[in-house]
Each structure stands twice: as C-alpha cells, then as structure tokens.
C-alpha cells in the first residue's frame, strides 16, 4: 500500500466514523424532540384536527389499525411539522414541481385548480333536473350563471401545456344544451368574457391563493346578472373596505404550495347604507348584515361572508323593491349576494349541499319572484347535491 492510498483509507475511515456519529445523533435528536415536543390538536394550515396517540386494544392491534394510527400520529405530531412541510415545498419548487393535489403552481404567484372532465353525465343530469324544476314555475323569472374558474379566466398564468381540460369547451356545450331546452322564463347569464376583459385590464378577479373570485370579480358578476335582471345596478354606489391584506387561501392549504404574494379581501358596502338582516334558518339565529368578523379572523378569511356556508339563509332588506329572490348557490355566491341586496326585499339563499328541506314548499311559500342558480363551473360540474334536492321534491309528489 502506498502512502497516498493509506492516507485515503485513513480519511475514508474518518469519514465513515464521523458519519456514524452524526447518523446516530440525528436519529436520536429527532426521536428525543419528538418525545418532548408539545402535542397539538389542530392544524390551522390544513384545517383539520391532528391525530392523537392511538389507544392500544387487542382489536386494533390484531387488524393492523393500530400501526396505521401510530404512523399518522407520529407524522401529525412531528416536531415543527409545518416547517418541514415548508422545507419540502422549497425542495419541490427547486426541482420544478408544478402540481400538487389538483393545484398548479402558476406564474405571478397564482395557484390554480385544475378542471377535469371526468364525468359529463353527472353535470348533464344536474342541468336536466334544474330545467325540470324551473319548468314548474313558468311565472317566476329565472337566471343561471356559471362562473368560470381561474383555469379559464387566468389561463395565461398556467404552466404552458398543463393537462387541464377546457372549461370553455364544456361551458359552450352546456350553454347550447340549456338553450335547446327552450325555457322562456330562463336567462343564461354569461360572465366569462366580462371577467376575462377585466382581468386583461389588470384587475384582479380571482384570488391568487384561493379558488374563489375576488369581491371585485363578484362585482363584475353581479353587474352582468343585474343587467339580465333589469336592476338599476349602475345607479348604486359602493364603498370599498379592505378587511384583509394577507389573505392566504384554501388552494395554498390544499396544495401545500406557498405563494409569496398575499391577496387582499375587500368588502363593497352599499352607499348609502341599507338595512340588511340575515336569518340563519336552520341555526335559528338572526344577525344584522351579511358579514362575520369571526369568519374574517378565523382560518379562512373568505368566511367573512356569512361565516361560511349554511343550508338556508333568509335575508331581508330595507329595499323598497317588491322582488324576492331565491338563490341556489355554492360559496362563490357568498361574495356576490351583497351586491344584490339593494334590489330585493328578500333573498333566500339555499346551499344544496347542506339543505335538507323541501325546496318546492319553500319556492311556493316564500313569495319568490326570481330564481337564480349561481355556481362556479368546478362545483357545478362535480357536485351532485343540486340534482339531489331538486329531484327529492319530485319524488315526494
């Protein structure tokens, strides 16, 4: 053995010895930290409760449930868990990962949810049921507005070539389908071109980190809807209030991607002020206005609108209008309802995902003059609850 080889061998040995020490230290350090780290019960980031130490029973030991629960517990209660998640996100970013849990990391800090045409049948069924329902009320004027998501409006921000199905294609097909049904009392309110127009002028209509539209986007939507409803929308003034300027929305939670550009949440209050009272029907409570400070300060500031989604809200206003509106909606509508309040004396807001009552009784007994379906395309396409509640009524008769 030459001197050089001997030296190399010595260095190699030293390397492995050091590595051995470091390896043991790391494993034991983390194991120790894990032992002493305080347990958490809730993750605001993921909006779920975290797993706790599972109880050991013969049953869960036998069927292996214990080991799964244990793994979940260890991962959920890992010391400084969010920082590790963040570290992995950094790694992913460096390695060029652009997709996580159905969300794409896009340019200008946008996170955009994918649209997948997995099941056209479900949406077609929803449409059919909606049309059937509206056909029963020929005297009520009805409107349907499907709001395109960011994957349509902000498609220039998407990574080029990202395998996202075109909402535009589906929407065109759907609009044709509705038109063919030939309901004289139904107006389809298009809003995509208006939103795209605003976006191209540099206005922010979609949140960067949330799947909702911004209040400005909702304003544009309301303007289009008001046009179709013949409401004197242009006469109404609005006072803008910024309620949050570091809004990090659900898409960030969902994907684990961090967008360094925070969003701003605004409210548009009618000017001059009008009186608005909201009754949360199934919760049996009545509150003034449409907004929730609890929602605003909670994990999801978008919940500033009504504090979240509720099965049935009855909103009454001091508006002198004699029109009463029934809205079937998803959370997109939450930001928009405020814009309609000055023009209706009552607005009944039904969220089909939670509503369990009889929709036909409500329609007939509340003196409804207008019905509006307000959905974003993703939810309309994926969610079957609308057809469930509208069909449920039929089955009873």
């Amino acid at each position: 053995m030459t001197d050089r080889e001997a030296r190399e061998r010595a260095r190699k040995l030293r390397f492995f010895r050091l590595l051995g020490i470091v390896f043991v230290m790391m494993i034991f350090l983390l194991a120790f930290l894990r032992l002493v780290w305080p347990r958490k019960s809730y993750s605001a980031q993921e909006r779920r409760t975290l797993a706790q130490l599972p109880a050991m029973t013969t049953e869960n030991l036998r069927n292996g449930a214990f080991s799964n629960a244990m793994e979940e517990y260890l991962a959920d209660q890992f010391p400084a868990r969010n920082v590790w998640v963040y570290l992995d996100e950094l790694r992913g970013k460096i390695m060029g990962e652009k997709y996580s849990q159905g969300v794409y990391r896009c340019s200008s800090g946008y996170l955009i949810e994918e649209f997948k045409r997995t099941d056209d049948q479900r949406a077609a069924k929803t449409t059919k049921v909606v049309l059937d329902y509206l056909r029963e009320y020929p005297d009520i004027s009805s409107y349907i507005m499907l709001v395109p998501n960011a994957s349509w409006i902000m498609k220039d921000k998407l990574p080029s070539g990202a395998p996202i199905d075109s909402q535009e294609e589906w929407y065109t097909m759907w609009a044709q389908e509705v038109k063919n049904a030939g309901l004289s009392n139904l107006t389809v309110v298009p809003v995509a071109s208006a939103l795209s127009e605003e976006a191209s002028q540099g206005k922010q209509v979609c949140y960067r980190t949330d799947h909702h539209w911004t209040t400005y986007g909702a304003y544009v939507g309301a303007r289009e809807l008001a046009g179709a409803m013949h409401l004197p929308f242009e006469e109404q003034n609005w006072k803008q209030v910024v309620v949050h300027d570091r809004f990090q929305g659900t898409l960030m939670s969902k994907s684990g991607f961090y967008s360094r550009t925070a969003d701003t949440v605004e409210l548009y209050l009618p000017d001059p002020d009008i009186g608005i009272v909201t009754t949360y029907k199934e919760q049996q409570k009545t509150l003034s206005g449409l907004y929730s400070s609890e929602g605003l300060t909670g994990d999801d500031p978008y919940e500033v609108f009504f504090g979240g989604n509720y099965p049935w809200l009855a909103i009454s206003t001091t508006s002198k209008s004699n029109r009463k509106l029934l809205i079937f909606k998803d959370s997109y509508a939450n930001a928009m309802i405020g814009f309609l309040c000055p023009f209706f004396s009552e607005i009944h807001v039904v969220d089909p995902r939670y509503y369990t009552g009889d929709i036909r009784t409500l329609t007939a007994s509340a003196g409804i003059t207008d019905i509006c379906f307000l959905y974003n395309i993703n939810t309309y396409y994926e969610d079957g609850s609308l057809s469930l509640i509208l069909e449920g009524g039929e089955a009873d008769e």
Binding site: R47, G64, T250
Partner: protein
C-alpha cells in the same frame, strides 16, 4: 413497517439501536430476533404465527436432512421434498391461491371457493431463503444451524425480511455466531441507509408522482413522447424504490455487523439483457439460476431443452413478482429476449457499448410497462400510446412534462450510473466535513418529504 416511515425512523430504529448496543454481546442475537418479530408483526400481527411455524418446520427439517444426508440419501431427499413442498404450499396458498382460484372460477369451475387473503409481507423472500437453506444442506454445501434462535434470526432478520435481498445462509453463517461492529462499519452502514432513503423518498416518490400523473392523462392530452416520459419515470421509480430498499437493508445489516450481498449493480448501464439480469435483483436471479435453472440442466443440454429451461425459469421469475398474467407476460418477455440474445444476436452487436446500452434500456423500459399494468386493456392502451397508436407524437402537454419532470428524470439518470458514486466517494475522501454536511441536509430533506406525505388537508372547504 417499512424503513421509510416515521414509526421506523423515530421510534423503532432508536429503540433497536439502543437495546442492541446496550445489551451484552451474547444477548444481541436475542435482541435482534425480538425486534425482528415485532417488526414483522407490526403491520399484520396474525402472520407472525405463519412466520414462527415456517421457522420451526424449516429448522426441524434442516436438522433431519443434515443428519441423513451422508448415509440415507433417499431419506434425506424425501425430507427435502416434504420441506420444500411445505414452503411452496404456504407460498402458493397465500400468494397465488386467490389469483388461481379466481381464474379457475372464471373459466367455469365455480365450485372452487374464493379466498380473500392478505399477502403476508415478505413471504416470497423468506420462503426462498428457507428453500435455499434446505437445498444447500442437502447438497452438503453448508453446515446445519443447530441453534434454533440463530436459525430464527437468519429467517426473520428485519433488515432483509420484507424486501430482500435473499440472503444465502453461507453468506451470514459466521456472522450469526460472531460478528463485530466498528464505528467505521456502522458509519458505512449509515451511508448505505441514507443512500437508500434518499433513493426511496426523494427520487422514487417524485418519479412515481410523475408517472401517475401521466398514466392518468386522458386521451386528449397524451402523446407518444409523453407516454415515453411516463415510462422512463416508472423505470427509474422502480429502480430507486427497489434498490433504495435493498441499500437500506444492506446498511442496516452493516450497522449490526452483517454483510449482505449486493443486490443491484447499476442495471440501467447494462449493455445487454443478459447483463441487465446479472445486475438487477442479483440475489433473486442467482437464486433461480442456482435452484431451478442449473438443476434443470442449465445450458449444457440440447438447444431445445435449453430453450425450455430458459422459458420455465423466466415464467417463474415473472410469476414470483406477483400473481397476475401480466407478470407472467413480463417474465416470458425477458425469456424470449434472452433467447434472442443467445441464439440470434449473439456477438453480432458492435463492440461499442452504447448501442447495446441504449437498446437494452429501451427494452427494459418497455418491459416495465408490461409489469406495471395488471389490466391488459390498460396495458395495450399505454403501450399503444408509446408507439403512436391513437395519439400525436408530441403536443403542448409533452412540453409541460418535459419541463416539470426534467430535473427529476436527469437526477434519476445520473444516480443510475456509477459516475455519481465515484464522484461521491472522491468528494467524501477529499472534503469529508462538507460531505457529511451534505448528508445531513439530504436527510433533512427526506424527513421533510416524509412529513409532507402526511400533509393531508381536510377538504371540506373545497366547495
């Protein structure tokens, strides 16, 4: 339990290390055995009984065969037959019965009861290990193990228990009785373990995500190039997944003083299919060579018989990987390729390694697509896409996957070659502090990736 889990890394491993090195040397085998059984029982405690039974049966038959191999060779042979039969029956029932019975019921034999059995972890590995032990005793190649617990440890040792390598008894015989761990050897084990962890967590999982994304693309988005990108991603994924696991096993073995044989030797740099199989899952291919191919006559028989032997061996190899027709197809694919190489191409290929290397890699990639699709129509669709059936050559989505997958694919290619390891070794010798720092950083990234796997937002707010 798998090595790349929180439970293993931060509960089991510290405990076993602590217990092992605190225990007096004589008790260490028992410590290892106890932890091995806990390790095995962790996921599916019921099958611990199968494992214990397997150990006992093989131990007893090993003794019987050893006692009779000199004088009563027929009696020894009979016992060997019974023991091997027992092992294969256990394997057959737990691994193949659900598949075979469903196939038979499919062709009208409805009276055959279907059984829903969970596959006992590692049964393919430890069964083969036991068979090799029995046969080696019968062949008088090894001495029988008289210590029951030592034998139990040989069968159930947790590092290689659930995903190999298939360790032959002669490789660890001495170490079962006497072994020494130096700090350097321990560190060397740590190096292997870390390397395996990185392969598994940082490479295989990311490549897997890429493949899954491409696999689930609708016809509207896919293209020939995209399909190939997906196939490459899977090719690298399975290599890093499997070899990463073997590395971790070897590393752990070293930490406890065992030297397991090498299981992978840069298979994707092979210049022919023959050489690929000398480098891929070496312990399995050598098992089949030793205990099936050579007993059948090997290649020292007529060409017709040789063809038969090759096809049998490769059919079995395929079937070993899983109970499904696609695995059989995959095995036969290699059988045919090897025969072609042997009888048709032979030495006609150029002496330059690159054409052979590239061709081999492409053929292996194609092979994995048979391996991964258990559903034949899906397999046909995917392989069809790779050859341009029903889709364009490339489209915008191809660009997307090229851009987002480029880093991980390049890393995959780089890590599949010995170049990286050579550089790594030189670097470690020259700048060993920096090397260690690098390893700490990589380990932290692995932990981060493991924590991120549990990142599981509750999606009620999806609406």
């Amino acid at each position: 339990m798998v090595f790349s889990s929180m439970t293993y890394l931060f509960v089991f491993l510290p405990m076993v290390l602590l217990a092992y090195f605190i225990a007096p040397p004589r008790a260490r085998n028992m410590v290892l055995l106890a932890f091995s059984l806990i390790f095995y029982a962790w996921g599916e405690p019921i099958y611990i009984f199968l494992m214990l039974m397997s150990i006992t049966v093989n131990y007893v038959f090993g003794r019987i065969i050893a006692n009779n191999r000199a004088h009563h060779s027929r009696y020894a042979k009979l016992n060997l037959g019974i023991a091997v039969g027992w092992n294969l029956t256990a394997l057959g029932i737990f691994k193949y019965y659900p598949f075979v019975s469903s196939q038979l019921r499919g062709i009208g034999l409805g009276f055959i009861p279907g059984l829903k059995l969970l596959l006992p972890i590692g049964i393919s590995f430890y069964t083969f290990q036991a068979i090799s032990y029995l046969v080696d005793i019968y062949r008088n190649q090894i001495r029988v193990q008289r210590g029951f617990f030592k034998f139990a440890l040989y069968i159930s040792m947790f590092p290689q228990l659930i995903a190999g390598p298939i360790v032959r008894y002669e490789d660890v015989e001495k170490q079962l009785s006497k072994r020494k761990v130096t700090l350097a050897m321990f560190g060397n084990g740590g190096e292997f373990f870390l390397r395996g962890l990185i392969k598994k967590v940082l490479l295989a999982n990311q490549l897997g995500a890429l493949y899954v994304q491409i696999e689930s693309l609708g016809v509207a988005h896919t293209s020939v190039l995209t399909a190939w990108i997906g196939a490459f991603a899977y090719t690298f994924q399975i290599y890093f997944d499997f070899s990463g696991y073997s590395d971790m096993a070897i590393g752990l073995g070293k930490m406890f003083g065992f030297r397991f044989p090498k299981n992978f030797d840069y298979p994707y740099t092979a210049t022919s299919i023959t050489s690929f199989w000398r480098r891929w899952h070496i312990s399995l291919s050598s098992w089949f060579r030793e205990y099936v191919y050579i007993p059948l006559g090997g290649k020292r028989v007529s060409p017709a018989k040789h063809v038969r032997n090759i096809l049998i061996v490769w059919m079995l190899t395929g079937f070993w990987h899983g109970a499904g027709w696609n695995f059989m197809l995959w095995g036969l694919y290699y059988g045919v390729l090897l025969l072609l190489e042997k009888y048709v191409i032979h030495d006609r290929i150029s002496s330059h390694p690159w054409p052979g290397r590239i061709l081999t890699f492409l053929l292996v990639t194609l092979g994995w697509m048979f391996f991964v699709h258990t559903d034949f129509s899906e397999m046909l669709t995917y392989v069809g896409h790779m050859f341009g059936v029903g889709c364009a050559f490339s489209n915008a989505t191809t660009g997307y996957f090229l851009r987002t997958g480029l880093v991980v694919l390049l890393l995959g290619a780089f890590f599949s070659t010995p170049i990286f390891h050579r550089l790594n070794e030189q670097f470690a010798v020259k700048y060993y502090t920096a090397s260690i720092a690098l390893r700490i950083a990589m380990f932290m990234l692995c932990v981060a990736a493991l924590v991120y796997q549990s990142y599981n937002p509750f999606l009620y707010f999806r609406f």
